[in-house]
Amino acid sequence: MKSRNAYIPKERKDWEVPSGYFDDLKSRLSLIPAMADSPAENGLHAERIVPAPRRRGAWVAALSAAAAAIALLFVLMRPSPAGEELNPADGIQLYESYALADLIPRTDPYLYMTDDDMDY
């Protein structure tokens, strides 16, 4: 009994191929470096190819920058505790006003009159 493989030829050389084809093929393929861009001209050199870990580092840096930008945006757009948008300059002015309030002498008597003081 024939073995399984005996039915299937091992050769493909009888498949139709034009005479002299392989020499012609090699000649045409040899023209590729002259016709296509040289890998060196593309700026690709084996030693300058960024290895995978550095590419990952670039992704991490980009992600961090994006997160920082989003955080900054959140801080800037967050409403102030008083419900009003404060101009930093105004904020400083208000602080100074509040800070100085206790130091202002009570010189205006009408502010501190009681009912007993009123002349009805």
């Binding site: 009888d14 090699k26 296509a36 040289s38 060196a40 690709l44 084996a46 190819i49």
Partner: protein
């Protein structure tokens, strides 16, 4: 020094043209037959082989020595051949009348008739299975190497080859008289 080692050493020195020339000399014919077994038509195989070497040339600086040049080239060639067939959107079937190939003669089974039958038989296989069959039967590639070329597991490849071989054998037997 074998072809792989020679090409690798040239690549490491940045001698791309020299390395490419060695690759063409060593692998062009083998790749042609492998591609031919998948696409079946000579002119199509010629197109695919050219495209394969063009892509290989452009990708040379990024070649990493984790696989040999041989495996790398076969991977490119196989992917190009399968992509070619997908683009063509036809399953080339050589069975039956009107097929591309015809029997050399009807009296007895001579060598040429058997090989023609072989082309027809391979033509009945799905394209990916043709790649598996070609690599194993003609190139006698190990399953581990085929796994690197085709991106499939060794077990799946063994099963695929077994079915392909059975189908080809049945076709040849049933069409030989």
């Amino acid at each position: 020094m074998n072809e792989d080692s020679l090409v690798l050493s040239l690549l490491q020195e940045g001698q791309y043209e020299e390395a490419f020339s060695k690759m063409v000399e060593a692998f062009s014919e083998k790749l042609y037959w492998h591609v031919r077994s998948i696409v079946l038509d000579h002119d199509d195989a010629d197109d695919v082989v050219q495209e394969t070497f063009l892509k290989a040339w452009k990708a040379l600086p990024t070649f990493r020595a984790d696989s040999g040049i041989y495996t790398w080239l076969y991977r490119i060639a196989t992917n190009e051949a399968l992509s070619f067939l997908r683009r063509k959107k036809e399953n080339v079937s050589l069975d039956g009348e009107g097929g591309v190939y015809t029997l050399a003669g009807s009296d007895g089974v001579d060598g040429k008739k058997a090989v023609t039958l072989l082309e027809r038989a391979i033509g009945t296989l799905p394209s990916r299975q043709r790649a598996v069959f070609s690599l194993r039967h003609f190139d006698e590639m190990t399953y581990e190497c085929m796994a690197a070329v085709l991106g499939a597991s060794v077990g799946a490849l063994k099963a695929s080859y077994h079915f392909a071989e059975e189908k080809v054998k049945r076709f040849i037997i049933s069409h030989s008289d």
